[in-house]
Subunit: 220 residues, 2 copies
DNA sequence: CAAATATTCCAACGAATATTGGAATATGTC
DNA sequence: GACATATTCCAATATTCGTTGGAATATTTG
């Protein structure tokens, strides 16, 4: 048993995970899959790439056992193979935000600062939402809300806000969230709400960030 | 401002971190650097590669801002640019162990099961060590012990155990640790100690794993 | 069983990466 | 200031990877 060789083997194995997360497209696919299971078609559409390319990337992710495929009727649905995978994505993104100045300034340009929460603020938000002092809305597609969402949040997909805007109380603060820091749906929702006279703000958290902070999701 | 383009940019940035950790050699360098700062020469020797190659890999890691270089006399010392980097390494390795069957069986072949600790066991070990009920020895080189070690552990480098073995009490349980799950120094140490009649066992934790579990290190 | 559709496989090309050898740079020592 | 040494830069090669086009597979529906 050669010490050097076994070591090489071990690091080689871990590097397979690293290789899987070394492509922007694959990272985006993981980010999307963190919202719940999706078909290849849906993934390709969300990521803005060809179905064949999406399939190829998914194959790589599957080879690294980061995602699982399951046939569901006529379609094949992919999903993350564990919550630790979504934690890894959050961890990677956090390191990137911390250490890559370019990403930091890009994010600060797109979003403003106070939208990032610490664990204490998250708890406080959850309590306020439970007491009804603020309205937390999940602006992702309804299916994603269905596969897990922030506690005490109600589903209000971006596409439907215009029609359903009267459901929201005009005298309460509204907090919108979507898929995470790289998703722009909550920003659009807030813009729309403000235009209609609501007091609205966004947070950068998605379900993955919420989980990574050690807080629970709601299922129904 | 094109939504698609900004998204591509963001994922591209995170992928730079992914690319940095997509090579086995770079992962090994990170693992070594998690033990404290090292010169290029020392890193190359530890990883068993040419100095030029080590320099090239370090350049990639530096470009991703995962490591920092600092001139120290005639040498250039590299170190991790933050504790979150070592946490990322632990996270990657954990996902790999969990999802890559090959790695799991390889590790189970090399190590036996009960050496992996949960947080509760870690705390209990720390308490026993404080009360002197067990002797925890750090078998890494003394310099690595110096840049941070488990609480109540004493330094007993693998090279020196033969000469210094009389320092250890024969009637106490001895627990050895080294750099982490991929390091084999503690296994060698235990073999040596058992041969001399000591009750010794190893744990797979290194300082990075200890930190990732939320437990403190000792400095002096 | 045949048609329709979703997904994957295969082939091929250009781009990016790992590795090695030789030269160049920079720091400390005399 | 010249020399020794550690480290990096540059060039070249083999290999791998991302992407796209066309064909093949598998499942549902009629």
């Amino acid at each position: 048993m050669d010490k050097r060789k076994t070591k090489d083997l071990l690091y080689e194995e871990v590097a397979r995970i690293g290789k899987a997360v070394s492509s922007p497209k694959r990272l985006e696919l993981l980010d999307i899959l963190a919202q719940g299971e999706k078909t290849v078609e849906a993934l390709a559409a969300e990521a803005g790439i060809d179905i064949k390319l999406a399939s190829a990337h998914l194959k790589v992710l599957k080879a690294a056992h980061l995602v699982m495929a399951e046939r569901d009727g006529r379609f094949i649905a992919y999903r993350l193979s564990g919550m630790d995978v979504s934690a890894l994505w959050v961890n990677l993104r956090t390191v990137a935000e911390e250490h890559l100045v370019e990403l930091k300034v890009a994010l600060e340009g797109i979003f403003s600062a106070p939208e990032k929460l610490d664990t204490e603020t998250r708890r406080s938000l959850m309590n306020k939402a439970r007491r009804g002092e603020v309205i937390v809305i999940d602006v992702r597609p309804a299916a994603e809300y269905g596969s897990g969402h922030l506690p005490f949040a109600r589903s209000m997909p971006l596409d439907e806000i215009r029609q359903r805007i009267k459901e929201l109380p005009a005298d309460k603060d509204i907090v919108a969230y979507c898929r995470g820091p790289f998703c722009m749906m909550s920003a659009e929702a807030v813009e729309l709400l403000k235009k209609h006279g609501y007091r609205a703000q966004k947070i950068t958290d998605g379900t993955a960030e919420w989980l990574a902070a050690g807080l629970p999701l709601a299922e129904s």
